[in-house]
């Protein structure tokens, strides 16, 4: 193509684009700005942040904003450290870690939405961490066993998110305080959405008198299955496996009440405003509901250089120090800090009071237990579906479910 040399066209396009009206180059500006910052050799740490199952766009945005604020605060005090954070959906996290690990570029830090660290440890993606006697004071003693495996500390918790119930104040004046009320309200036409993943249903399972994680006791799932069947017979109670459907249902008004966690509250508050109400899960025949707790947990990558590991540890300890924990707890208002030295204004902040109480009643699983639970979940689900859909009776499914739930035998 004579007279139309492609190389010249390419060169010509650059100045043309730059000269055209109102031209701004944010990436270039950012690059030039970044170049002026002194970054020490090997002072970059990579962080992979798991986004919660069922997180929507706003949730992720809020999460990024909160995390970026924490990074900025850390870099203000440590200007020579660079932190690169990537937010990965929970379903893609393990694949992403594997991808990076097989290239020798595994992350220096992983921030999980729970303490399910064992799958990463088994595949050598993470390493254990040692804390000295002063560092360990930043974490409540009662929490630490849930992060230990064979005497090694595999992760460090940063915040605890309890399971709650969220409801629409305009539609439901008084949320159900127990399971009977829940059934009655549903019969009166109020719609309820319940997360049917087994880890999210544990408050029902244990609350109905069944026992889990007792190696010597065979679980009895009958009461639990009968209630599931009873609930599903109500036309306004729905069981959803995708938490996103529950959230969007509450926002759109499809549901009046749903099971939720403290982590959802900030984005639900933005979307629903004063219509949003949060309460404890309904009481059980055996007493208060005792759901599992989710702990945001830091894990340390196994491939970090010595300096990167030290910097990663510094950043993690920064995130659990008393000032950061207090500031973040007040800012989030929906999570319980792990540092024992913090006193929060529980009397004036109702949400904080609620999540604090829920965290006290809830149960944080050990690494082995949560690992077992997440591996068992996919096996359990078809059985639960058979009961919920009415294809099988609770009596016929209970023995099979009990066999699956034999914790000691599976270990």
């Amino acid at each position: 193509m004579n007279g139309f040399s492609p190389q010249r066209l390419l060169l010509g396009l650059l100045p043309l684009l730059a000269l055209l009206q109102g031209c701004k180059m944010p990436l270039l500006q950012e690059y030039l700005g970044e170049r002026s910052k002194p970054i020490g050799f090997g002072s970059t740490i990579n962080v992979l942040v798991e986004t919660r199952k069922g997180a929507d766009h706003l949730d992720i945005k809020l999460n990024i904003s909160a995390f970026s604020a924490r990074i900025r605060e850390f870099q203000r005090l440590n200007p020579n450290v660079k932190i690169q954070a990537r937010f990965i959906p929970f379903a893609d996290l393990e694949r992403e870690v594997k991808f990076q690990h097989t290239r020798g570029l595994g992350p220096d830090l992983i921030l999980l939405t729970n303490n399910n660290a064992l799958p990463f440890f088994r595949k050598n993606y993470i390493r254990s961490i040692t804390l000295n006697q002063f560092e360990i004071l930043s974490i409540r003693n009662s929490l630490l066993p849930s992060f230990m495996h064979k005497g090694k500390l595999l992760g460090i918790p940063v915040f605890i998110y309890p399971q709650l119930a969220c409801y629409n104040r305009l539609r439901l004046k008084k949320p159900p305080e127990n399971l009977d009320e829940l059934i009655k309200l549903s019969q009166n036409g109020y719609s309820f959405g319940i997360d049917k993943n087994f880890d999210a249903l544990q408050w029902l399972y244990s609350g109905l008198g069944d026992v889990l994680f007792e190696p010597k006791t065979l679980p009895s799932s009958l009461a639990f299955l009968r209630w599931l069947r009873l609930a599903n017979l109500q036309p306004t109670i729905s069981f959803e496996s995708d938490p996103l459907l529950l959230r969007s249902g509450l926002i759109s008004g499809e549901f009046s009440w749903i099971t939720c966690t403290g982590a959802w509250l900030p984005s639900l508050e933005i979307r629903m405003g004063k219509k949003l109400g949060a309460v404890m899960l309904p009481n059980m025949p055996t007493g208060n509901a005792r759901p599992f707790l989710n702990a945001r947990t830091w894990l340390f990558g196994s491939q970090s250089s010595g300096r990167q590991h030290e910097l990663a540890k510094k950043f993690v300890l920064f995130s659990v120090n008393i000032v950061q924990q207090r500031n973040m707890a007040l800012k989030l208002g929906t999570a319980v800090p792990v540092n024992p030295g913090i006193s929060l204004p529980l009397k004036t902040n109702k949400t904080l009071q609620l999540v604090n109480l829920a965290a006290e009643r809830g149960k944080l699983l050990s690494l082995d237990q949560i690992d077992w639970l997440y591996r068992t979940d996919p096996i359990l689900m078809p059985h639960l579906d058979l009961v919920i859909s009415g294809e099988q009776s609770p009596e016929s499914i209970a023995p099979r479910l009990n066999q699956v739930l034999k914790y000691g035998a599976k270990k």
């Binding site: 193509m1 007279g3 492609p6 066209l9 701004k24 944010p26 990436l27 990537r86 570029l105």
Partner: protein, 433 residues
């Protein structure tokens, strides 16, 4: 969200991790091992079985060392993976090298079936830059979050945010459209030529039209994909109109002339024509009809003339390959003495011309008596040739053949002679002369 500086710092930090260093060392060891093995086997220089019988073997032989390197590096990477479970970067490097190797193989194969010039241009202008870009983006995808980087805003033009992705599409898409469409256009034209039995010039004109069409549609698609808004396009068009009115007038005029010539078919690649000025008696072959200018080739001195397209609109041209046919009529003038009968001379001329290899038998050469000159009768032998570019060389051959035939037949080619008479009364006449 990562920026380029972040990625660079990240890369620096990670390079000195033990697993990364191990992979680099493994690849270096593979390279050293390959170098030794290559010298030992000497694959490219030795004679291969059946090489003499099959031309393919000798053509593909040049890839032997590259294939060996691919195998060696892959085996070393697999060994590292088995030992440590960490060889992703080494696999990426060997995978990318494998991709390059396959494309080298295909290029050699293509050269057997498509014009070498087109394939070479495709290789140099498209494939090789593509390796660099794919390699660069590939490395970025290994060490950082490429989708985030591509989605990050890079410029704001006309109120629209353009991401790195848009920018790459605009820049590289345009480049690859312009450079990479030659081979597909040739392929489509080849199909069309099989269907419609196109002549050589029509083939080249069709090829160019198809290419321009692909480029135009592609550029519009890129602009639509990038999401350039219509107001902005209108503003750019307005700016271009002003530019066209002043500096770009000639360029635009030449471009339109080129398109018109292609559509009209008055000047097509492969045509042979004489320009009114400049190239004298030598015809030129049209090599390429470009967007701004046409490239002509002149056989005499093997030069390429770049003629602005507009010139074909303003000047008269002589073409030998117009609508009727591509034959050119040549003529050689010769003088014969008065004593030879014209019928004899004409029959010799016609017979001689018919024996020259590149002179066509049909229409048959035609001898003519043109004039009675002072010292000779001037005859012309007119003949037809197939390739208009061979006019001078065929005329030379015909002239030589006539001279030989006249010598054989005793026909004199007279020429004016001057007789000097020396005056003996002038004593120093000889000296004066």
């Amino acid at each position: 969200m990562n920026s380029l500086s972040d990625i660079f710092n990240d890369l620096l930090s990670d390079t000195f991790r033990v697993p990364v260093l191990l992979q680099i060392v493994t690849l270096v060891l593979a390279l050293i091992f390959w170098f030794r093995l290559k010298k030992l086997l000497n694959l490219e220089n030795r004679l291969w079985p059946l090489e003499k019988r099959y031309k393919y073997i000798s053509s593909f032989k040049q890839l032997a060392d590259e294939l060996l390197l691919l195998f060696v590096s892959r085996i070393f990477s697999l060994a590292l993976d088995n030992l440590t479970g960490v060889a992703g970067l080494a696999f990426f490097v060997t995978g990318f090298y494998g991709l390059v190797f396959i494309s080298r193989f295909l290029i050699i194969l293509l050269k057997f079936y498509a014009p070498i010039a087109v394939v070479s241009r495709f290789d140099h202008s498209l494939l090789r830059p593509a390796y660099v870009i794919v390699g660069f983006l590939g490395v970025l995808s290994q060490v950082s979050d490429l989708p985030s980087l591509l989605a990050s805003p890079v410029a704001m033009i006309g109120g629209d945010n353009f991401s790195f992705n848009d920018f790459l599409l605009l820049l590289l898409g345009s480049y690859f459209l312009v450079t990479g469409t030659a081979l597909p256009a040739w392929g489509l034209t080849w199909l069309a030529s099989n269907l419609f039995e196109l002549s050589k010039p029509a083939f080249r004109a069709t090829e160019l039209i198809i290419r321009y069409l692909i480029v135009a549609i592609g550029l519009i698609s890129i602009l639509v994909t990038v999401g350039v808004n219509y107001t902005f396009l209108a503003a750019v068009s307005g700016g271009l109109s002003v530019g066209l009115g002043f500096g770009l007038k000639e360029v635009f005029s030449n471009f339109i002339s080129g398109l018109w010539l292609l559509i009209e078919g008055a000047v097509r690649p492969g045509d042979v024509l004489l320009l009114e000025n400049g190239s004298g008696e030598d015809p030129c072959e049209v090599l390429e009809l470009g967007m701004r200018a046409t490239t002509l080739w002149r056989d005499r001195d093997n030069v390429e003339l770049v003629v602005p397209n507009q010139l074909f609109f303003t000047q008269q041209m002589v073409t030998y390959s117009g609508v009727r046919d591509r034959y050119r009529r040549g003529q050689v003038l010769i003088g014969a003495a008065y004593r030879h009968p014209p019928e004899q001379v004409i029959s010799i001329l016609e017979a001689v011309a018919a024996t020259v290899p590149r002179v066509l038998a049909k229409p048959a050469p035609k001898g003519l008596l043109l004039r009675y000159e002072d010292s000779a009768i001037t005859y012309a032998i007119r003949y037809w040739i197939e390739d208009p570019m061979n006019g001078i060389s065929v005329a030379s051959q015909v002239g030589i053949a006539i001279w030989n035939a006249f010598s054989l037949e005793g026909i004199e080619i007279p020429f004016p002679q001057r007789v000097l008479h020396m005056d003996s009364t002038v004593s120093n006449a000889r000296t004066q002369i």
